[in-house]
Symmetry: C2
DNA sequence: CAAAAGGTAGACAGATCGGTCTACCTAATG
DNA sequence: CATTAGGTAGACCGATCTGTCTACCTTTTG
């Protein structure tokens, strides 16, 4: 083939787009290989099963967000800005997905399709934990003598963030996320 | 059959359980009719298609929540309590679903499986709008001379509520929802 | 009693599902 | 040059999908 990108990467990219747009269960193996421009056997040479591919999808989306978030964090001069950087990383994600039809958090949407005990749900929960942790650590710097309050406020801001993402996903644009960022800023002002 | 409950109702109840637990796309027609104890043709005599049944499922979940919320509202003595009643209605939903494995908001989870333009997504967005509206109207009574602030606070509390539901669903219990209720109460205290 | 309404079991259709297998084809490497 | 690693197309498998159809059965109602 003219395209020299390894099959595994092309499959993951194709799966990413289809899983996000159409849902995990509704997306068939054949649709993925067709979009990747790859033979079906290449999928099973790189992934043990569809479930394995879904796991890899969740992992890669998590890492993608970590990348966006790290960049935003590096550009943040103060703990306060680091809190808002987490909000910005969600806005980045929304902007990235906007062209193809923004449908909210790809990780949560995938988790919503998995049954109660599935390890994929725990992986998604871990990403939400990580976002809250990043907020909490920045808040600890802002409130060095009140760790309890830092923890409560971090939970508060995490709910704001995830709730705005839920609403934004349903509405198809990022206005709610922008509002949440403003609200978060005013919560920080009141500390 | 010994059970005289009409087929349509039994189908909707069976679909409700399976859709919530296993996901909409992953649940097949045959599984629904089997659980309802009903012939396959009875499904197609009552619903035009699976998509139609999904629409009815979303509608019935919305109405179920409206019922829980109305009850909570009636037991609320003040505008402040009416705001918290909306949080309680979400807690009721979590408690109700807890036995079979709590997986978060059934409406949002269903929406997460629908493609971008699907009318089901708009119906779910409408439920979130309604929750925010109920909060906003109570807040207007508390802040009769500051409608702007009532609106902003309502959005803030809606994000809190939906974000906590997201987190709670991923974690499988209602601790996050209880935390959100506490945070909401303290936000109300600061008005 | 007769008609109508609602429900039954199960066969059936065509499509699609996830997954396997074979036989062949390159391109890089020792 | 020979081997090996990775990729190809496409047939194939059994299971399952949504949806249709027939022929029969019960219960209610006029």
């Amino acid at each position: 083939m003219t395209d020299r990108t390894p099959a595994r990467e092309r499959l993951l990219r194709a799966a990413s787009e289809l899983f996000y747009n159409d849902g995990v269960v509704a997306t068939g193996i054949d649709a993925i290989t067709a979009r990747a421009g790859v033979a079906k056997m290449s999928l099973y040479n790189n992934f043990a099963s569809k479930a394995d591919l879904v796991q890899a999808y969740i992992q890669s989306r998590h890492e993608e967000w970590q990348g966006l978030c790290r960049e935003r964090m590096e550009g943040a001069a103060s703990p306060r800005e680091r809190v808002l950087a987490v909000f910005d990383s969600y806005l980045d994600h929304a902007a990235f997905e906007y062209q193809r039809g923004f449908r909210g958090c790809g990780l949560y949407n995938a988790a919503a399709e998995l049954p109660a005990g599935d390890p994929g749900r725990a992986a998604v929960a871990a990403q939400k934990e990580e976002a809250e942790r990043l907020i909490r650590e920045a808040l600890r710097e802002m409130l060095p003598d009140d760790e309890a309050r830092a923890g409560e406020t971090a939970e508060h801001l995490s709910f704001l963030l995830e709730g705005a993402m839920t609403r934004a996903g349903l509405e198809g644009h990022d206005a709610r996320l922008k509002a949440a960022r403003r609200i978060a800023a005013s919560v920080l002002d009141q500390l």
